[in-house]
Symmetry: C2
Amino acid sequence: MMHKTISLADQIFERLESDILTGVYPIGSVLTELSLSEDLGVSRTPIREAVRRLEQEHLVEPSSKGVVVLSITPHDAMIIYDIRIQVEGLAARACAENITDEQLAEMKELLELQEFYIKKADSEKIKNTDSQFHQMIYQFAGSPVYYDTLAPLHNKTQKFRKASVARSGKAVNSHQEHHDIYRAIAARDPDAAELAMKRHVEEAKKRLAELAEI
Amino acid sequence: MMHKTISLADQIFERLESDILTGVYPIGSVLTELSLSEDLGVSRTPIREAVRRLEQEHLVEPSSKGVVVLSITPHDAMIIYDIRIQVEGLAARACAENITDEQLAEMKELLELQEFYIKKADSEKIKNTDSQFHQMIYQFAGSPVYYDTLAPLHNKTQKFRKASVARSGKAVNSHQEHHDIYRAIAARDPDAAELAMKRHVEEAKKRLAELAEI
DNA sequence: TCATGGATATATGCATACAATTATACTCGC
DNA sequence: GCGAGTATAATTGTATGCATATATCCATGA
Protein backbone atom coordinates (compact mmCIF):
# COMPACT_ATOMS: atom_id res chain seq x y z
CA MET A 1 0.00 0.00 0.00
CA MET A 2 1.61 3.17 -1.26
CA HIS A 3 0.32 5.77 1.12
CA LYS A 4 1.87 9.07 0.12
CA THR A 5 2.53 10.86 3.35
CA ILE A 6 3.77 14.41 3.16
CA SER A 7 5.96 15.37 6.06
CA LEU A 8 4.90 18.10 8.43
CA ALA A 9 8.08 19.97 7.60
CA ASP A 10 7.12 20.08 3.93
CA GLN A 11 3.58 21.18 4.66
CA ILE A 12 4.78 23.89 6.97
CA PHE A 13 7.36 25.12 4.52
CA GLU A 14 4.76 25.48 1.80
CA ARG A 15 2.38 27.23 4.12
CA LEU A 16 4.97 29.66 5.41
CA GLU A 17 6.30 30.35 1.93
CA SER A 18 2.81 31.10 0.72
CA ASP A 19 2.00 33.21 3.75
CA ILE A 20 5.13 35.27 3.28
CA LEU A 21 4.57 35.77 -0.42
CA THR A 22 0.95 36.77 0.07
CA GLY A 23 1.70 39.13 2.91
CA VAL A 24 0.14 37.21 5.77
CA TYR A 25 3.47 37.74 7.44
CA PRO A 26 4.34 41.28 6.45
CA ILE A 27 7.82 42.31 5.47
CA GLY A 28 9.95 43.01 8.48
CA SER A 29 7.88 40.89 10.83
CA VAL A 30 9.75 38.54 13.09
CA LEU A 31 9.11 34.83 13.31
CA THR A 32 10.46 32.67 16.08
CA GLU A 33 10.48 28.91 16.11
CA LEU A 34 8.58 28.82 19.37
CA SER A 35 5.77 31.14 18.31
CA LEU A 36 5.40 29.32 15.00
CA SER A 37 5.28 25.97 16.72
CA GLU A 38 2.55 27.27 19.04
CA ASP A 39 0.60 28.86 16.19
CA LEU A 40 0.74 25.77 14.04
CA GLY A 41 0.42 23.28 16.85
CA VAL A 42 3.50 21.22 16.11
CA SER A 43 6.86 20.85 17.74
CA ARG A 44 9.86 22.97 16.86
CA THR A 45 11.53 20.22 14.88
CA PRO A 46 9.54 20.43 11.65
CA ILE A 47 9.32 24.21 12.11
CA ARG A 48 13.09 24.45 12.20
CA GLU A 49 13.40 22.48 9.03
CA ALA A 50 10.90 24.69 7.22
CA VAL A 51 12.51 27.91 8.46
CA ARG A 52 15.94 26.73 7.34
CA ARG A 53 14.56 26.25 3.86
CA LEU A 54 13.02 29.72 3.92
CA GLU A 55 16.44 31.06 4.85
CA GLN A 56 18.04 29.32 1.92
CA GLU A 57 15.50 30.84 -0.40
CA HIS A 58 16.16 34.21 1.16
CA LEU A 59 12.56 34.71 2.11
CA VAL A 60 13.65 35.29 5.68
CA GLU A 61 16.90 36.34 7.28
CA PRO A 62 18.29 35.41 10.68
CA SER A 63 18.22 38.26 13.13
CA SER A 64 19.13 38.66 16.75
CA LYS A 65 15.79 37.13 17.64
CA GLY A 66 14.23 34.66 15.28
CA VAL A 67 14.09 35.40 11.60
CA VAL A 68 12.79 38.51 9.89
CA VAL A 69 10.67 38.40 6.75
CA LEU A 70 12.51 39.91 3.82
CA SER A 71 11.37 41.93 0.91
CA ILE A 72 13.13 42.70 -2.29
CA THR A 73 13.73 46.21 -3.48
CA PRO A 74 12.24 47.32 -6.80
CA HIS A 75 15.83 47.47 -8.03
CA ASP A 76 16.38 43.83 -7.09
CA ALA A 77 13.12 42.91 -8.78
CA MET A 78 14.28 44.48 -12.02
CA ILE A 79 17.56 42.60 -11.83
CA ILE A 80 15.71 39.37 -11.22
CA TYR A 81 13.68 39.98 -14.33
CA ASP A 82 16.84 40.66 -16.33
CA ILE A 83 18.25 37.35 -15.16
CA ARG A 84 15.01 35.54 -15.82
CA ILE A 85 14.83 36.92 -19.34
CA GLN A 86 18.10 35.21 -20.13
CA VAL A 87 17.78 32.00 -18.14
CA GLU A 88 14.12 31.27 -18.82
CA GLY A 89 14.97 31.79 -22.46
CA LEU A 90 17.48 28.99 -22.15
CA ALA A 91 14.98 26.88 -20.23
CA ALA A 92 12.28 27.32 -22.88
CA ARG A 93 14.81 26.36 -25.53
CA ALA A 94 15.76 23.24 -23.60
CA CYS A 95 12.09 22.46 -23.13
CA ALA A 96 11.48 22.58 -26.86
CA GLU A 97 14.32 20.10 -27.26
CA ASN A 98 13.43 17.72 -24.45
CA ILE A 99 9.75 17.81 -23.58
CA THR A 100 7.74 14.59 -23.77
CA ASP A 101 4.27 14.27 -25.22
CA GLU A 102 2.77 13.69 -21.79
CA GLN A 103 4.36 16.81 -20.44
CA LEU A 104 3.15 18.75 -23.43
CA ALA A 105 -0.37 17.56 -22.80
CA GLU A 106 -0.10 18.60 -19.19
CA MET A 107 1.01 22.04 -20.26
CA LYS A 108 -1.85 22.39 -22.67
CA GLU A 109 -4.29 21.41 -20.00
CA LEU A 110 -2.93 24.06 -17.70
CA LEU A 111 -3.33 26.73 -20.35
CA GLU A 112 -6.95 25.74 -20.85
CA LEU A 113 -7.49 25.95 -17.14
CA GLN A 114 -5.98 29.41 -17.09
CA GLU A 115 -8.25 30.49 -19.91
CA PHE A 116 -11.18 29.35 -17.82
CA TYR A 117 -10.07 31.40 -14.83
CA ILE A 118 -9.47 34.43 -16.97
CA LYS A 119 -13.08 34.24 -18.17
CA LYS A 120 -14.15 34.04 -14.55
CA ALA A 121 -11.74 36.88 -13.66
CA ASP A 122 -10.48 34.88 -10.70
CA SER A 123 -7.21 36.70 -10.20
CA GLU A 124 -5.98 34.43 -7.44
CA LYS A 125 -6.31 31.34 -9.63
CA ILE A 126 -4.88 33.18 -12.59
CA LYS A 127 -1.82 33.97 -10.57
CA ASN A 128 -1.50 30.33 -9.53
CA THR A 129 -1.77 28.93 -13.02
CA ASP A 130 0.67 31.55 -14.19
CA SER A 131 3.23 30.38 -11.66
CA GLN A 132 2.55 26.77 -12.49
CA PHE A 133 3.18 27.38 -16.16
CA HIS A 134 6.62 28.78 -15.49
CA GLN A 135 7.45 26.02 -13.06
CA MET A 136 6.48 23.47 -15.66
CA ILE A 137 8.97 25.00 -18.04
CA TYR A 138 11.64 24.74 -15.39
CA GLN A 139 10.81 21.12 -14.73
CA PHE A 140 10.43 19.98 -18.30
CA ALA A 141 13.69 21.54 -19.44
CA GLY A 142 15.58 18.34 -18.76
CA SER A 143 17.92 19.33 -15.95
CA PRO A 144 17.28 20.14 -12.30
CA VAL A 145 19.68 23.04 -12.75
CA TYR A 146 16.93 25.09 -14.36
CA TYR A 147 14.46 24.55 -11.57
CA ASP A 148 17.02 25.14 -8.85
CA THR A 149 18.11 28.39 -10.41
CA LEU A 150 14.80 29.79 -11.54
CA ALA A 151 12.33 28.74 -8.86
CA PRO A 152 13.83 30.98 -6.17
CA LEU A 153 13.97 33.91 -8.55
CA HIS A 154 10.41 33.36 -9.59
CA ASN A 155 9.28 33.14 -5.99
CA LYS A 156 10.88 36.40 -5.11
CA THR A 157 8.91 38.31 -7.68
CA GLN A 158 5.60 36.73 -6.74
CA LYS A 159 4.23 39.49 -4.65
CA PHE A 160 5.01 42.07 -7.24
CA ARG A 161 3.45 39.90 -9.88
CA LYS A 162 0.30 39.49 -7.87
CA ALA A 163 -0.51 43.15 -8.20
CA SER A 164 0.42 43.08 -11.86
CA VAL A 165 -1.84 40.22 -12.87
CA ALA A 166 -4.74 41.67 -10.92
CA ARG A 167 -5.32 43.96 -13.86
CA SER A 168 -7.40 41.65 -15.95
CA GLY A 169 -6.42 43.13 -19.32
CA LYS A 170 -2.82 42.40 -18.58
CA ALA A 171 -3.64 38.84 -17.61
CA VAL A 172 -5.02 38.25 -21.07
CA ASN A 173 -1.80 39.57 -22.60
CA SER A 174 0.21 37.28 -20.40
CA HIS A 175 -1.94 34.32 -21.29
CA GLN A 176 -1.51 35.01 -24.98
CA GLU A 177 2.24 35.07 -24.49
CA HIS A 178 2.10 31.79 -22.62
CA HIS A 179 0.26 30.33 -25.53
CA ASP A 180 2.91 31.55 -27.94
CA ILE A 181 5.54 29.83 -25.84
CA TYR A 182 3.50 26.65 -25.74
CA ARG A 183 3.09 26.64 -29.49
CA ALA A 184 6.81 27.02 -30.06
CA ILE A 185 7.57 24.22 -27.64
CA ALA A 186 4.89 21.99 -29.11
CA ALA A 187 6.46 22.60 -32.52
CA ARG A 188 9.82 21.59 -31.02
CA ASP A 189 11.24 24.88 -32.24
CA PRO A 190 13.97 25.91 -29.77
CA ASP A 191 14.70 29.28 -31.36
CA ALA A 192 11.06 30.29 -31.37
CA ALA A 193 10.58 29.03 -27.83
CA GLU A 194 13.52 30.99 -26.52
CA LEU A 195 12.41 34.12 -28.31
CA ALA A 196 8.81 33.82 -27.14
CA MET A 197 9.88 33.27 -23.56
CA LYS A 198 12.30 36.15 -23.57
CA ARG A 199 9.63 38.42 -24.98
CA HIS A 200 7.18 37.22 -22.37
CA VAL A 201 9.45 37.85 -19.41
CA GLU A 202 10.42 41.21 -20.88
CA GLU A 203 6.75 42.13 -21.09
CA ALA A 204 6.20 40.96 -17.55
CA LYS A 205 9.07 43.16 -16.48
CA LYS A 206 7.55 46.13 -18.28
CA ARG A 207 4.14 45.54 -16.76
CA LEU A 208 5.69 45.42 -13.34
CA ALA A 209 7.82 48.49 -13.92
CA GLU A 210 4.79 50.52 -14.97
CA LEU A 211 2.82 49.34 -12.02
CA ALA A 212 5.58 49.97 -9.55
CA GLU A 213 6.30 53.34 -11.15
CA ILE A 214 9.98 52.64 -11.12
CA MET B 1 33.61 39.77 22.87
CA MET B 2 32.44 38.68 19.47
CA HIS B 3 33.01 34.97 19.58
CA LYS B 4 31.84 33.62 16.26
CA THR B 5 30.45 30.20 16.99
CA ILE B 6 29.65 28.09 13.98
CA SER B 7 26.91 25.57 14.50
CA LEU B 8 27.61 21.88 14.19
CA ALA B 9 25.04 21.69 11.43
CA ASP B 10 26.94 24.28 9.39
CA GLN B 11 30.27 22.59 9.96
CA ILE B 12 28.86 19.23 9.01
CA PHE B 13 27.22 20.61 5.91
CA GLU B 14 30.49 22.11 4.71
CA ARG B 15 32.37 18.97 5.45
CA LEU B 16 29.88 16.73 3.70
CA GLU B 17 29.64 19.10 0.74
CA SER B 18 33.40 19.10 0.37
CA ASP B 19 33.65 15.35 0.85
CA ILE B 20 31.06 14.75 -1.82
CA LEU B 21 32.64 17.17 -4.29
CA THR B 22 36.08 15.71 -3.77
CA GLY B 23 34.93 12.13 -3.99
CA VAL B 24 35.43 11.03 -0.40
CA TYR B 25 31.87 9.79 -0.65
CA PRO B 26 31.78 8.33 -4.14
CA ILE B 27 28.83 8.85 -6.42
CA GLY B 28 26.10 6.35 -5.71
CA SER B 29 27.17 5.69 -2.15
CA VAL B 30 24.46 5.73 0.48
CA LEU B 31 24.51 7.91 3.56
CA THR B 32 22.17 7.40 6.48
CA GLU B 33 21.62 9.83 9.29
CA LEU B 34 22.53 7.22 11.86
CA SER B 35 25.80 6.14 10.26
CA LEU B 36 26.82 9.76 9.71
CA SER B 37 26.01 10.64 13.30
CA GLU B 38 28.14 7.74 14.47
CA ASP B 39 31.00 8.57 12.10
CA LEU B 40 31.05 12.23 13.04
CA GLY B 41 30.24 11.72 16.69
CA VAL B 42 27.24 14.00 16.94
CA SER B 43 23.54 13.41 17.29
CA ARG B 44 21.21 13.02 14.36
CA THR B 45 19.77 16.52 14.69
CA PRO B 46 22.58 18.55 13.10
CA ILE B 47 23.17 15.71 10.65
CA ARG B 48 19.58 15.92 9.52
CA GLU B 49 19.88 19.64 8.94
CA ALA B 50 23.04 19.25 6.89
CA VAL B 51 21.62 16.41 4.83
CA ARG B 52 18.49 18.42 4.07
CA ARG B 53 20.67 21.20 2.69
CA LEU B 54 22.60 18.71 0.59
CA GLU B 55 19.27 17.54 -0.79
CA GLN B 56 18.28 21.06 -1.72
CA GLU B 57 21.54 21.54 -3.54
CA HIS B 58 20.99 18.24 -5.31
CA LEU B 59 24.23 16.79 -4.05
CA VAL B 60 22.29 13.85 -2.63
CA GLU B 61 18.91 12.33 -3.35
CA PRO B 62 16.55 10.53 -1.01
CA SER B 63 16.32 6.83 -1.64
CA SER B 64 14.55 3.95 0.01
CA LYS B 65 17.27 3.89 2.62
CA GLY B 66 19.07 7.11 3.45
CA VAL B 67 20.29 9.36 0.68
CA VAL B 68 22.36 8.56 -2.38
CA VAL B 69 25.30 10.72 -3.44
CA LEU B 70 24.62 12.32 -6.78
CA SER B 71 26.99 13.58 -9.38
CA ILE B 72 26.71 16.56 -11.61
CA THR B 73 26.36 15.12 -15.03
CA PRO B 74 28.52 16.61 -17.77
CA HIS B 75 25.25 17.69 -19.32
CA ASP B 76 24.29 19.62 -16.19
CA ALA B 77 27.74 21.19 -16.12
CA MET B 78 27.33 22.45 -19.65
CA ILE B 79 23.94 23.91 -18.77
CA ILE B 80 25.41 25.63 -15.77
CA TYR B 81 28.01 27.23 -17.98
CA ASP B 82 25.34 28.37 -20.42
CA ILE B 83 23.50 30.03 -17.58
CA ARG B 84 26.66 31.54 -16.19
CA ILE B 85 27.59 32.98 -19.57
CA GLN B 86 24.39 35.00 -19.53
CA VAL B 87 24.11 35.90 -15.88
CA GLU B 88 27.76 36.63 -15.19
CA GLY B 89 27.64 38.85 -18.24
CA LEU B 90 24.89 40.84 -16.54
CA ALA B 91 26.84 40.84 -13.29
CA ALA B 92 29.98 42.17 -14.95
CA ARG B 93 27.92 44.88 -16.60
CA ALA B 94 26.40 45.86 -13.26
CA CYS B 95 29.86 45.82 -11.74
CA ALA B 96 31.14 48.28 -14.31
CA GLU B 97 28.24 50.54 -13.40
CA ASN B 98 28.42 50.25 -9.64
CA ILE B 99 31.88 49.31 -8.44
CA THR B 100 33.64 51.62 -5.99
CA ASP B 101 37.28 52.61 -6.15
CA GLU B 102 38.07 50.56 -3.08
CA GLN B 103 36.49 47.47 -4.56
CA LEU B 104 38.37 48.06 -7.77
CA ALA B 105 41.64 48.22 -5.87
CA GLU B 106 40.78 44.98 -4.12
CA MET B 107 40.14 43.33 -7.43
CA LYS B 108 43.42 44.53 -8.85
CA GLU B 109 45.26 43.19 -5.85
CA LEU B 110 43.68 39.79 -6.31
CA LEU B 111 44.76 39.69 -9.93
CA GLU B 112 48.33 40.47 -8.94
CA LEU B 113 48.19 37.71 -6.39
CA GLN B 114 46.94 35.32 -9.01
CA GLU B 115 49.77 36.30 -11.32
CA PHE B 116 52.18 35.46 -8.53
CA TYR B 117 50.67 32.00 -8.05
CA ILE B 118 50.72 31.35 -11.75
CA LYS B 119 54.46 32.02 -11.82
CA LYS B 120 54.83 29.59 -8.94
CA ALA B 121 52.52 27.13 -10.72
CA ASP B 122 50.58 26.59 -7.51
CA SER B 123 47.43 25.19 -9.02
CA GLU B 124 45.54 25.01 -5.75
CA LYS B 125 46.03 28.71 -5.08
CA ILE B 126 45.31 29.55 -8.68
CA LYS B 127 42.00 27.80 -8.37
CA ASN B 128 41.23 29.72 -5.19
CA THR B 129 42.01 33.13 -6.61
CA ASP B 130 40.05 32.23 -9.68
CA SER B 131 36.99 31.51 -7.56
CA GLN B 132 37.55 34.64 -5.54
CA PHE B 133 37.65 36.79 -8.63
CA HIS B 134 34.29 35.58 -9.75
CA GLN B 135 32.80 35.94 -6.30
CA MET B 136 34.04 39.50 -6.18
CA ILE B 137 32.17 40.23 -9.36
CA TYR B 138 29.04 38.75 -7.82
CA GLN B 139 29.47 40.86 -4.70
CA PHE B 140 30.41 44.12 -6.34
CA ALA B 141 27.53 44.03 -8.81
CA GLY B 142 25.29 45.99 -6.48
CA SER B 143 22.57 43.48 -5.60
CA PRO B 144 22.59 40.31 -3.51
CA VAL B 145 20.57 38.71 -6.27
CA TYR B 146 23.71 38.18 -8.30
CA TYR B 147 25.56 36.42 -5.53
CA ASP B 148 22.60 34.29 -4.52
CA THR B 149 22.07 33.13 -8.06
CA LEU B 150 25.63 32.67 -9.18
CA ALA B 151 27.44 31.35 -6.14
CA PRO B 152 25.64 27.99 -6.09
CA LEU B 153 26.18 27.54 -9.81
CA HIS B 154 29.82 28.39 -9.47
CA ASN B 155 30.19 25.92 -6.60
CA LYS B 156 28.71 23.10 -8.54
CA THR B 157 31.27 23.34 -11.30
CA GLN B 158 34.22 23.49 -8.93
CA LYS B 159 35.44 19.97 -9.30
CA PHE B 160 35.33 20.13 -13.04
CA ARG B 161 37.11 23.44 -13.01
CA LYS B 162 39.80 22.13 -10.75
CA ALA B 163 40.97 19.69 -13.35
CA SER B 164 40.75 22.35 -16.01
CA VAL B 165 42.88 24.93 -14.28
CA ALA B 166 45.48 22.33 -13.38
CA ARG B 167 46.78 22.70 -16.90
CA SER B 168 49.03 25.65 -16.41
CA GLY B 169 48.83 26.95 -19.96
CA LYS B 170 45.08 27.26 -19.62
CA ALA B 171 45.45 29.07 -16.33
CA VAL B 172 47.43 31.78 -18.09
CA ASN B 173 44.66 32.15 -20.64
CA SER B 174 42.11 32.41 -17.90
CA HIS B 175 44.15 34.99 -16.07
CA GLN B 176 44.48 37.09 -19.21
CA GLU B 177 40.71 36.98 -19.59
CA HIS B 178 40.25 38.04 -16.00
CA HIS B 179 42.48 40.96 -16.68
CA ASP B 180 40.42 41.95 -19.70
CA ILE B 181 37.33 41.92 -17.53
CA TYR B 182 39.06 43.98 -14.90
CA ARG B 183 40.15 46.57 -17.44
CA ALA B 184 36.65 46.97 -18.78
CA ILE B 185 35.23 47.36 -15.28
CA ALA B 186 37.98 49.79 -14.29
CA ALA B 187 37.11 51.83 -17.38
CA ARG B 188 33.47 51.75 -16.26
CA ASP B 189 32.55 50.33 -19.63
CA PRO B 190 29.49 48.09 -19.11
CA ASP B 191 29.31 46.82 -22.68
CA ALA B 192 32.98 45.83 -22.73
CA ALA B 193 32.70 44.26 -19.29
CA GLU B 194 29.72 42.15 -20.25
CA LEU B 195 31.38 41.07 -23.46
CA ALA B 196 34.67 40.21 -21.78
CA MET B 197 32.94 38.19 -19.09
CA LYS B 198 30.77 36.29 -21.53
CA ARG B 199 33.82 35.45 -23.59
CA HIS B 200 35.65 34.32 -20.49
CA VAL B 201 32.92 31.97 -19.27
CA GLU B 202 32.51 30.66 -22.80
CA GLU B 203 36.21 29.87 -22.92
CA ALA B 204 36.00 28.20 -19.53
CA LYS B 205 33.15 26.09 -20.84
CA LYS B 206 35.20 25.12 -23.88
CA ARG B 207 38.21 24.24 -21.77
CA LEU B 208 36.05 22.02 -19.62
CA ALA B 209 34.30 20.41 -22.57
CA GLU B 210 37.63 19.48 -24.15
CA LEU B 211 38.91 18.10 -20.90
CA ALA B 212 35.79 16.13 -20.14
CA GLU B 213 35.68 14.90 -23.72
CA ILE B 214 32.01 15.63 -23.95
C1' DT C 1 12.77 -25.23 -4.51
C1' DC C 2 10.37 -21.23 -4.39
C1' DA C 3 6.88 -18.18 -2.90
C1' DT C 4 4.65 -16.17 0.99
C1' DG C 5 4.10 -14.28 5.40
C1' DG C 6 5.60 -12.66 9.55
C1' DA C 7 9.29 -11.33 12.83
C1' DT C 8 13.15 -8.42 13.28
C1' DA C 9 16.16 -4.82 12.29
C1' DT C 10 16.83 -0.31 10.48
C1' DA C 11 15.52 4.11 8.96
C1' DT C 12 13.25 8.34 9.26
C1' DG C 13 9.71 11.79 11.41
C1' DC C 14 8.41 14.13 15.27
C1' DA C 15 8.32 15.52 20.09
C1' DT C 16 10.54 16.75 24.17
C1' DA C 17 14.23 17.86 27.37
C1' DC C 18 18.32 20.21 28.32
C1' DA C 19 22.28 23.35 27.51
C1' DA C 20 24.05 27.55 26.13
C1' DT C 21 23.70 31.92 24.24
C1' DT C 22 21.65 36.30 23.83
C1' DA C 23 18.29 39.79 24.76
C1' DT C 24 15.52 42.11 28.26
C1' DA C 25 14.31 44.00 32.50
C1' DC C 26 15.35 45.33 36.82
C1' DT C 27 17.95 47.05 40.63
C1' DC C 28 21.46 49.37 42.80
C1' DG C 29 24.79 52.91 43.13
C1' DC C 30 26.05 57.36 41.84
C1' DG D 1 17.53 60.46 36.86
C1' DC D 2 20.77 57.62 34.57
C1' DG D 3 24.19 54.19 33.65
C1' DA D 4 26.29 49.76 34.87
C1' DG D 5 25.88 45.38 36.20
C1' DT D 6 23.23 41.49 37.26
C1' DA D 7 19.28 38.53 37.29
C1' DT D 8 15.72 36.79 34.44
C1' DA D 9 13.49 35.48 30.36
C1' DA D 10 13.45 34.07 25.72
C1' DT D 11 15.49 31.68 21.85
C1' DT D 12 18.23 28.77 19.44
C1' DG D 13 21.37 24.48 19.22
C1' DT D 14 21.77 19.81 20.28
C1' DA D 15 20.66 15.31 22.20
C1' DT D 16 17.54 11.72 23.05
C1' DG D 17 13.41 8.95 23.08
C1' DC D 18 9.50 7.13 20.94
C1' DA D 19 6.37 6.06 17.07
C1' DT D 20 5.96 4.62 12.53
C1' DA D 21 7.17 3.10 8.08
C1' DT D 22 10.09 0.22 5.42
C1' DA D 23 13.35 -3.15 4.30
C1' DT D 24 15.48 -7.57 5.35
C1' DC D 25 15.72 -12.10 6.76
C1' DC D 26 14.04 -16.35 8.10
C1' DA D 27 10.76 -19.89 8.53
C1' DT D 28 7.06 -22.38 6.89
C1' DG D 29 4.16 -24.55 3.54
C1' DA D 30 2.78 -25.85 -1.12
